[in-house]
Symmetry: C2
Subunit: 390 residues, 2 copies
Amino acid sequence: MPAFEKHEYAQRVKRTKESMQERGIDVLLVSHPANMNYLTGYDGWSFYVHQGLLIALDQEEPVWLGRGMDANGARLTTCLSEDNIREYADDYVQSLVKHPMHFIADVIKEKGWGAKRIGLEMDQFYFTHRNYVELEKSLPSATFVDGNALVNWVRVAKSEAEVEYLRRAGKIAVKAIQAAVDSIDVGVRECDAAAAIAHAQYSGTAEYAGDYPAIVPLMMAGEATSTPHLTWTERQYRADEAVLLELAGTYRHYHAPIARTIFLGPTPPPLMQETAEVVTDGLARTLEFVKPGVTAEEVEEAWRKAIAHSTVVKESRLGYSIGVNYPPDWGEQTISLRPGDKTVLEPNMTIHLIPGIWYKEVGFEIDATIRITETGNESLYDYPVELITK
Amino acid sequence: MPAFEKHEYAQRVKRTKESMQERGIDVLLVSHPANMNYLTGYDGWSFYVHQGLLIALDQEEPVWLGRGMDANGARLTTCLSEDNIREYADDYVQSLVKHPMHFIADVIKEKGWGAKRIGLEMDQFYFTHRNYVELEKSLPSATFVDGNALVNWVRVAKSEAEVEYLRRAGKIAVKAIQAAVDSIDVGVRECDAAAAIAHAQYSGTAEYAGDYPAIVPLMMAGEATSTPHLTWTERQYRADEAVLLELAGTYRHYHAPIARTIFLGPTPPPLMQETAEVVTDGLARTLEFVKPGVTAEEVEEAWRKAIAHSTVVKESRLGYSIGVNYPPDWGEQTISLRPGDKTVLEPNMTIHLIPGIWYKEVGFEIDATIRITETGNESLYDYPVELITK
């Protein structure tokens, strides 16, 4: 069963079509798995072969296109009518002769869309250059236009039902970070801590099943705290080292990321304590500023001002929009909190602020995952915002 | 530390360059995370932003190119010299103005490769159409040629060190499937079984840490057994239903997939029993045929003959090559066991044979993950090949 009511999907498709009209797109080929899920409920780990949705201004329902063996998955997880589930034969898969885009082009022609303005997600993973080449060859009368991130932007303000899912994800996030804090200790293998975290992430709460996050637990210890995207090894944690954690609670593919830092000893080194204080305080002061009407770049500016008295420097973006997603990224690839992003924040946007510091000498991570409310913002979960010592 | 000795990476780069010469490629841009890992050891969940390696005939070492915050990850996980770790500023990330391919093009020009024949992985996820457009704009004197799956084919026969890693992955696969068999039962939530599996996958054995597989556990129960790529929900298992499982043990990104079917009751329905017998026997007979010198399509033909006496029909490919990988696919995208694939099997190729059946009325999965030996083949793990009743 799809995760939302049928009318919610209809609303999402309607808003997508409005955006297509604004951009002069007649037919949109959606390749991004999260966009496919958002518009129809489709949910399966089938995105390692080419697939997609077609959204057309002159047809009410989206058309799902995928590999034959996944069509029953579309029947089970979407409300699409049988006519709009279109499957390609298995010899299109990773062939040097046939290509799934030939099949998609055939459906486009059959529907009478072969001379239309067709939007493509030009810079989304899952839309390869070869996809473009094969579509262009197969549809000589079509005009191709960039529909990149079009659906991502439709996703940016969440519905009440989505907010409820994000809150459930928040509950799971708390369980996952607590599993990390409980399991990480001197002499424990990193992989065993990762196992405890994954167990909490997948199991979820007694009420709500966890789902797989779009990113596995990122967990760096010792000298690895100089970089943010490493995972675990068979190494054992040592006394007096820091452990950076960035992970998420996930409910039906909706993400609540949480990042914290553990120091395995009673007294963190002065530079770490100082960095933790500056960043934690800076984050708190930034959150006081976040409300509807301010822009993404103004939030980053507020952060920069809040830490200006210190020696802490953060050159990477402060945060980004989150919601429904699939590997490899839980970021929505829309709003970025950084200079130049003039997006005006609105109620029910949901944002991950992660002022991570990855110096050679010290690494520190802490974060906030928030929903913009009518007057300010609120956290999606309740967990102490502080450097954890153990 | 990289997973292999420095000379092994040097060998891999050498063989990649030989293949480039055969294809008339001077410089290869490698985008696929598994190919990046294979050639340098680079290991980080940073592939949600654009990154890559440049392999050039006129330079010994590869050049790593990625986001600034990930450069320390490259320093920690590869043996590349400092000159060959090149980082782009954070404002290239998901920007509408700058694009990471501009940075990569700048490095190509600086190296004097701007008018060379440049190979691109045209149909790999992680190489988007926009990547191509930006490279073409930035490098007007270059000639772009298809280098798709070039490194994947270099990966196809495994070294002794890789075989050892695959055997370790096999040990972890057995622990993971056993965790599934132990935890799945009537009344248990699917998500709690998934949690037990993930725990076993990440924790590994007492000797060997598990790693994250490129695909999360695929687990279908009840009516969902009509399709192969769904995951878990909060639903509880019911009596007298089947559960299909496809999952992997993973050691340092090397995969040993394992698939089994559990029936939650003493007596599976006749159609299921019959299908299980035909498929299990057909698989055994196919394995007797697999040895160096036979082709991929001949293996599939042997399978088809072995089940010809029955009503079982399998239209999708019988199997594919496996090894090192990252999400979204543990398949290597080289050998496919199906008509038309004339690849001759060689010692130390490693293959996942998965004769899965996903009918509306019955689903059944069982598999073999094998290494081609000098005279035949051997399993990467030891686990009963049978329908499991519980």
